[in-house]
């Protein structure tokens, strides 16, 4: 942990050397999700609700997904660019060092420019938390925190799977984007909007709905069972196959040469 903090400050210092570049990338990140938000807003100017959810309620969803995605991307960026590490043979160096591979990849990159997106998520929260008409009792506050924290973990595990696939393919698979970037983009609406089949897939296979849709029902008081409140914790189970897959890939890894 101390070592990670050291890496963390190192990355922070190095990225602060290029302030303009950092600033512009952060602004870009902000704008990208801002246009997505504008799109949602335009849709709600025309339609007052979707599947029974109002605009502030949908925004709550949007902000949870955005915040957890940017947290995962900020810290898990190393896994996002992992295919390059495999491609140029640098991963071999990681393997000879006396620390775990996951730790080293994790520490290899911290992307601070994601703060643009983070900021946007916070602004949306500031608007949506009072506007959603939810009575914020302590259990609901806990639920919201669980949604964000577990969401970050699920996105992080997805990055891990993405990285593990490149053990076999060398290149990153564009198809995984539908789960990571797609999860972010389409997570702006509660997943039930997309119908039963998609909701089922996102509950049992890739548990994005477990930290987004079900706990949202609890927040809105549509479901009172504590089970819905604790659903986000269940999504953490996704970590088991994700880590197992990473280990399996690591085991099968053959270097691509220097």
């Amino acid at each position: 942990m101390r070592l990670y903090l050291k890496f963390f400050t190192m990355h922070l210092k190095s990225q602060m050397q290029y302030k303009t570049s950092f600033f512009l990338t952060a602004v870009g990140q902000f704008l990208v999700s801002f246009t997505a938000l504008l799109g949602v807003w335009f849709m709600f100017l025309r339609f007052n609700e979707v599947n029974g959810f109002t605009f502030p309620q949908v925004l709550l969803c949007h902000a949870v997904v955005l915040l957890s995605f940017s947290l995962a991307e900020c810290f898990g960026r190393g896994f996002d660019v992992f295919p390059q590490l495999i491609g140029n043979g640098m991963f071999d160096r990681v393997l000879v060092r006396p620390r775990s591979a996951v730790f080293q990849v994790l520490a290899s990159q911290v992307e601070f420019s994601r703060i643009g997106r983070l900021l946007q998520a916070l602004v949306v929260f500031i608007y949506a938390i009072p506007a959603s008409g939810i009575l914020w009792t302590w259990d609901r506050v806990v639920t919201l925190c669980l949604m964000i924290i577990c969401g970050s973990f699920v996105f992080f595990f997805l990055f891990l799977v993405y990285a593990a696939i490149s053990f076999f393919t060398i290149e990153g698979l564009e198809f995984m984007n539908i789960l990571t970037d797609g999860g972010r983009e389409f997570g702006r609406y509660p997943f039930a909007v997309y119908g039963k089949a998609v909701l089922g897939f996102l509950t049992y296979v890739i548990p994005l709905a477990l930290f987004q849709y079900y706990p949202l029902l609890y927040l809105l008081g549509l479901e009172t069972s504590r089970l819905y409140m604790l659903m986000p914790l269940l999504s953490l189970l996704f970590g088991i196959p994700a880590i197992a897959f990473w280990r399996f890939g690591l085991h099968r890894y053959r270097s691509t040469g220097s």
Binding site: S21, T35, M43, F47, E174, G182
Partner: protein, 267 residues
């Protein structure tokens, strides 16, 4: 003319090499299109009367958008061109007996076209075979389809000439990140890549429909789906021609001004 055709051909064949990447891309775009359609359907169920396009027009719009993504994506720029300006290898380009603007224009257009040709067929094929309500419909008539084809090529011209403006700004700023990012994001939104322009609220919608960005993907996709037809389609194509001319003239002018003062970096 012949040399530009040759550049076009080289680029085209070159891009056709990456078939596996294309396959993965196709799968992604397919899933993406599905999710988009499902989201629009959810809104449609809430209130069909507020829907500015018919559902099948929206479905066609989305499938066409996914199929021709490579043709109309605003966030794609030629890294080679940026590198040429920043590394100084532009000096070689300038020594060639060829007009630089046209050369880059051909290169960018060919790359987009090749990517799109490779990717559109499987997506369209499946989209035509899907069960209702996901199935893509055929254009209303043959003339409508011909208008669509014209609009596609004009749209490609508009987007390439717009990105040429972004390349030219590299001469002035040397760091393309800022302009590139902001231009790409705004253009994407105003072109109707996030939600189709008819879904924009008034008066915002009327304003955006006159902007050059509406001449990119908005026009061909809506002509195909039949949302813009007959007389309106002809006016739209005229608008595309006007914007294309303005953008090319502006790009050429800016470029020749930049080249007069160009300082080549490095040796």
């Amino acid at each position: 003319m012949q040399k530009y055709l040759a550049i076009f051909q080289i680029r085209f064949v070159n891009s056709l090499q990456y078939r596996t990447a294309a396959l993965a891309g196709i799968a992604t775009q397919f899933a993406w299109g599905f999710m988009e359609i499902l989201a629009f359907q959810a809104f449609y169920r809430v209130d069909p009367s507020s829907f500015p396009m018919t559902l099948s027009q929206t479905v066609s719009y989305i499938w066409m958008q996914q199929a021709f993504l490579a043709l109309f994506m605003n966030w794609f720029f030629e890294p080679e061109i940026f590198n040429a300006v920043m590394s100084g290898s532009i000096a070689y380009e300038l020594a060639r007996p060829i007009d630089l603007y046209s050369r880059w224009f051909c290169q960018a257009a060919a790359n987009r076209l090749a990517k799109a040709v490779l990717r559109c067929m499987p997506i369209l094929l499946v989209a035509f075979l899907l069960p209702e309500p996901f199935r893509m419909s055929l254009p209303a008539s043959l003339p409508q389809f011909l208008l669509f084809l014209i609009a596609v090529f004009l749209g490609l011209g508009v987007i390439v000439s717009f990105s040429m403006l972004v390349y030219v700004t590299t001469f002035y700023t040397l760091s393309p990140i800022g302009t590139r990012l902001i231009a790409a994001i705004l253009a994407d939104f105003l072109a109707g890549a996030i939600i189709p322009l008819p879904f924009f609220p008034q008066p915002f919608r009327t304003i955006t429909e006159w902007l050059p960005f509406a001449s990119m993907q908005n026009m061909p996709l809506r002509i195909y789906s039949g949302h813009i037809a007959g007389h309106d389609a002809l006016t739209g194509i005229l608008l595309q021609i006007v914007w294309l001319t303005i953008l090319i003239l502006a790009g050429r002018r800016l470029m020749s001004r930049a080249l007069r003062h160009v300082v080549v970096q490095g040796g």
